[in-house]
Every structure is written in C-alpha cells, then in structure tokens.
Symmetry: C2
Subunit: 354 residues, 2 copies
DNA sequence: CAGCGCTCTGCAACCGTTTGCGGTTGACAC
DNA sequence: GTGTCAACCGCAAACGGTTGCAGAGCGCTG
C-alpha cells in the first residue's frame, strides 16, 4: 500500500477517482463530507486508500491556520515531577489527533518569550504551560492572540485562565496534621519560592493548617527558598537547624527540598526520623527508596496531565467556554521519615498508623 | 514592535520597503542574501524589523519540504534515563534553529509505526530514535525515505545507521573489575532484555570482563530480564538468591534492576552491602540517596543527547556522509552498595577507596 | 557606439490544501 | 414546456512563502 515516501497528493487521488481535487478534499473531511454524494465519496475513499494517500498537514495548516499541534511549556524536563504530567498530556492529545511540542524554559522569561513566539509562528493551536512564573504580560499576549491556554500546577490569581493543579492547601494540611498527630509541636517549614503559585499556596496552607491544629509559627521556623532544589533545601534546613535548633519536624514544600534537608541532617550528624521528622511533597519516583523512605504528599501527576489536555481540547472545540480551575486531591503517603518526637513520651508503634 | 498576533506577511514588508516580495525573501534568507544589493537588503531588514515580521514556517515548509523540526522517538519519558538525553538533544537543536517533536512509543512496534508515519507527514527533517527495538523493516523504511536518522543508546548491527551510545562493555568491565578487586569471586549478573542492544552488549561485556579477571560464570549466576524494570530486578534477584545462594555480588544491567535487587534483599532479610554487593548502571537521579547509596556506572546522558543532535545536524547539512558510530566513555561511581565480601578477610576501609 | 557581461530585482509559477461561488443536472410542480 | 429548487461538483483563488527565469540598467571593451 503506502509507499515509504509519500509524494501522493490530493491531485493523484482526484485523477484516479476521476473527480476534481476539491471534491476529494470535501469527501475526505468529516465536516464537509455531507456535501458530496455518498457514492462519489466512497470512490474517492477507495482511491485514497489504494494510493496510500495521507493529507499533508503543512499545506492544510497553511490554508486553515491550524496545525493540530499544541505547545507545552515546562521549566525543565529533567525535574522528575514533569515526565508523568507530560505523559498524561501526550496520551490524551494523541487520542484526539493532536501532537505536542515540548519546550524547556528554565523559568527564564526570555526563553519563554522566544519559545512562545516560535510556537505561535508554527501555528500551534493551543498552549499548556507548567512554567512557574509566566508573567501577566506574556499571558495577556497569548490570551489576546486568542490562542487557548491552560495552566498546569499553578493558577492565575483572577481565575481568568483555565488551570489544573493539585490542592496544595489540602496537601500541606495532611502533612501538618500527620506530624502534629505524632506529637510534634515545634514544626518548621521550608517554603518554596513565593513568586510561584505552588510555593505560595503551600506556605499559606502551612500557616492555615498550623493554626487549625493550634500550633505556633514563629518566624525563625519558616524560611523561603529561591528555587525548588536540593541545594536550596540543604542550605535553608542547615540554617534553620543552626538557628532554631529545638525544632523536631520539618514540612518541606517539595521533595527536592526535603532531600536537601536529609543532606543537611547528615552533614550535622543528626538522624531522621529519630531526631528530626521530615515530610516532602510530590512523591517523586524513588523517594520510597531513600534512607529513610520519605513520607510525602502524593500528587496525581499523570492525571494532572490528562485533565489539562481535556480542558484544552474542550476549549479548542468551543472558544467561548468559561475558564474553570480544577483542583485534584492529593494523598499523604506515610513512610519512614516521620516518627514521634523523642522527648515527649509517645509510645512507639503509632508511627505506622495514620 | 511585534503585535501579539502576527498577520504581517512578506508582502507587507515588501510594500514598506518598496520592493518585490521575492526580493524580501532573498534579502532575509542567509543563503540568498548575496543575490541582493546590500543597500536594498538593509532597507528590507529595517522594514521587517519595524513591522515585527516573522517568516511563517508553515508556508516556507510547504515550498521547501523542510519543517525545521526533527522527530525524537523514545520508549517512555517517564524513565529517568531519558530526560537528560532529551535535554541535550533539545538544547543543541534549538541553537541550530530546529524544534524537536517528542513521542513515546512504549517500545510498541505499532505505536512506533503510526508515530513515524505521522511525523513524516509533518515533514520532519530527521529522526533521533532511542527506542530499543526498532525493527529492521522500520529502519529501512526511514532510510529508504531518505530522511536522516540517528540512533541513541543502541546501534544497528551492520553499522549502516549512525549511532551514539555509551561504551557498555567498558562500563560493565569497570563494574566487574571494581567488584572483583574488592575480593568477590562469586558474582552474578542480572541481564537486560537480550533483544535490546544495551542489554545484549552489557551481558557480553560481563562475560568478557569476568573472563579477563579469571572468574567463572556458571549459568545459574546469570538471569535475563524481560524488561528493564524494578519488579523484574526483584523477581530475578530473588530467584537467584534462592537458587544460587552462595553468590556475594550482583552486577545489574541497569539501575532499575539494581533497585529491584535491593527489594529482593530486603524481603529476604539480607543486607547490602554487608551480605551482598550490588552495582547498577546509568547513575539515575537520586540513586545517590538510596539506602545504601548505589554504586553504579555513570553514563554521560546529556552528552549523549548533544552528540546525537550534532550527528544529525551534520547529516542534515550533508546527506552523503558516511554513517559513524560514537561511543562515549562511562565512569564508575563508587558509593555504599559495594563492599568486600564478609568471609574472606579483607580489612575494612578499603571500601571507600577506588 | 555597438555589443557584451554582470548585478540586481521583478515576474509568475509553484508547493498541497481548502473553500466561496457558480454552473450543471435532474426531479418535480405548474 | 417552462420554471424552481436542491444536490452535487468543478473552477479558481487563496494561504505565505521560494525560486527559475528573464529583463533592466550599467560599466566596460574594442
């Protein structure tokens, strides 16, 4: 059937089916098929089949201004958080006949801008962005251009842009309640960058949850990282241990920060969970094999991707849709990095519960 | 400057610069610029700049049959091995003005085929494939279509296709020499799938290296996994421990298999490295934080990507190039999962060395 | 001053589809 | 036998660039 190279054009099909190229086009497109006699259409389909005809998306795109590709912006594919999300996005888009174009922005506004520009030139039909700090201006540009956009893992304050994210506040609450339930009262927070919505919401969630369980949050028990990285976690956790040494538990805004805490503990000869309890966020691959296995908040990453894709497809089909924000529910995964505090006599064995 | 939407065409520029559209095209393209008067070219450039003109790659592609995109096939982006490679590829291609289209094949021939077809329709200028078992037929189809292709992390027996990979034999040799040097003699191998070139070459490398250090490889000390997964590793390692219980060290064909070995040891109450020494391959992210930290063979993943991209760009520029295969050198990273065997009285402390 | 050659730029035909418009055909009513 | 209408399909103009070809202008030679 289909030759390897595909030089067979709509004209070849037209010749074989003995009709005009325009008719072939109509016969082969679902929404214009009604315009052509069923018998003729069948003849065209057979001719197309026989020649192994595949429409050329480039030519089609030139005329229709659609490319059936959608642009996906992520900070860095190397961050284990993103691959499952991408997988979710891709699988869903694939089914719908779309291809995704993935770019890494490193959260650099300049890279974001040039990539966006390049993708728009490539006529992408929509965007999914997981970048932390897409500024208002860039968002506005997309929106103004009329290209559908959905945000992932972050949201936009005024709700003007559809978004899907995990319920960060709820996730942190699960973590705090777990740790407090173990008997900890001096709990610290290694917060994420506050100009990212996840960092910000998790910090807010921490304050809220601590209040809800009736615990104090003195300023020296919160510190703000500049990036979601292991080295930042190590640096801040180290500082916190040195300055507020009496804390017994740390809730980190993300697994990488939590791993940084591990490093800081090791370098100070303190043990987890015996001396300091640590909770992460995201449940990255392999954190169940760390020493100790990390207790963390699991986010349904792949589902985030599929839902984001659904949201985008929805808007592609109907541009006038009201933007909506979908929050996915996280779950606490209790492993070995959390334990009751030493001093306060909580009987052993409670650990595995909850 | 540039409006958000970009309705400015080559004709607009032509009007402003008071020249013919054809002249604008020539003035703006590097390889035809010589054909137009420098003064005119400058006028055109200024007009283009002023209007924020960006050439439409779709239209260009229609005429030139080039899309400036290249297709990247990987088994599964969720496998931590691939993101760094992708990053390398993307960075290099970006610099050269190319965009990469990434698809996951799950090593499923059917998916490979449809994705290839789809990408070819999208006029991709070349392919980079990291899929394990692209069959001869598919490869031939690409080659016959004349689209440049480079293989990553695998190679093709007859050397007819350019490829970049890590020197698997050398990597395994480093592992075996290290373990043998610690005093182990009963060393097992959890091999990868033998229909993948990495799995096969690492197995061959194991046999060769064992021979070189004068050690025996009885059949019960090698078992072949069906996939490179943690569960396969656990299953096979478990079987091997049960049937050939006297072995003191295991060289796994990959980190995931090694982690599976960890699981098998834990479930049998045996300790690593005290009772069994384990070595992995790849140095995936986070394996340095496992318990114990995994001794493994590091492969320069990002470099694999950049080199592959270079190779492809090279062939894009000159189709007649001889295919060549590039082997990158791996390095052994010694961590906590390897130690001298118990019985044989090797003094402690040697562990941290080499 | 005719003729030649070189440099530059305009012209127009593509690339492969889609799509508005209009023409043909045949059924049917009057 | 003429007119109306719907269904179908062909025609040709787009979409936004690229490129072979030809011609205009000009400097130079003999």
């Amino acid at each position: 059937m289909a030759g390897v190279r595909n030089p067979v054009t709509i004209r070849d099909v037209a010749r074989l089916a003995e009709v005009h190229p325009g008719t072939v086009s109509r016969a082969l497109n679902a929404d214009t098929r009604a315009l052509v006699n069923e018998e003729t259409a069948e003849r065209v389909r057979r001719a197309a089949e026989q020649l192994g005809y595949r429409p050329n998306p480039i030519a089609r795109g030139l005329k229709t201004n659609r490319s059936y590709t959608i642009g996906v912006l992520i900070p860095d594919i190397t961050n284990p958080l993103f691959p499952p999300i991408l997988r979710g996005i891709e699988d869903r888009l694939d089914d719908a006949g779309y291809t995704s174009l993935i770019v890494n922005t490193d959260n650099d506004p300049e890279r974001e801008r040039t990539h966006l520009e390049a993708m728009r030139m490539r006529q992408v039909d929509g965007f999914i962005s997981a970048t932390a700090r897409l500024d208002h201006e860039v968002l506005a540009a997309i929106a103004f251009g009329g290209t559908p956009l959905v945000l992932v893992n972050r949201s936009f304050e005024d709700g003007s842009v559809p978004a899907v994210a995990v319920n960060d506040r709820q996730g942190i609450r699960l973590a705090v309640e777990h740790v407090a339930g173990l008997g900890h009262s001096r709990i610290g927070h290694i917060a994420g960058p506050q100009n990212t919505s996840t960092g910000h919401r998790r910090y807010q969630g921490f304050l809220g949850a601590m209040g809800a369980v009736g615990l104090d949050v003195p300023p020296q028990r919160v510190s703000f990282s500049s990036w979601f990285t292991e080295t930042e976690g190590a640096r801040l956790c180290g500082e916190m241990l040195d300055s507020a040494g009496d804390l017994t538990a740390i809730v980190a805004a993300n697994d990488l920060l939590a791993i940084g805490c591990y490093d800081a503990l090791v370098s100070r000869g303190r043990r987890c969970p015996d001396e300091v309890t640590i909770v992460g966020f995201n449940d990255m691959p392999l954190v169940d094999h760390l020493r100790p296995p990390l207790t963390t908040v699991r986010v349904p990453q792949r589902e985030i991707g599929t839902v984001a894709a659904d949201l985008l497809l929805e808007r592609l089909a109907d541009t006038s849709l009201e933007p909506r924000e979908i929050l996915l529910e996280p779950a606490l995964i209790v492993r070995g990095s959390t334990a009751p505090p030493r001093e306060e006599g909580v009987e052993p064995g409670r650990r595995a519960a909850s």
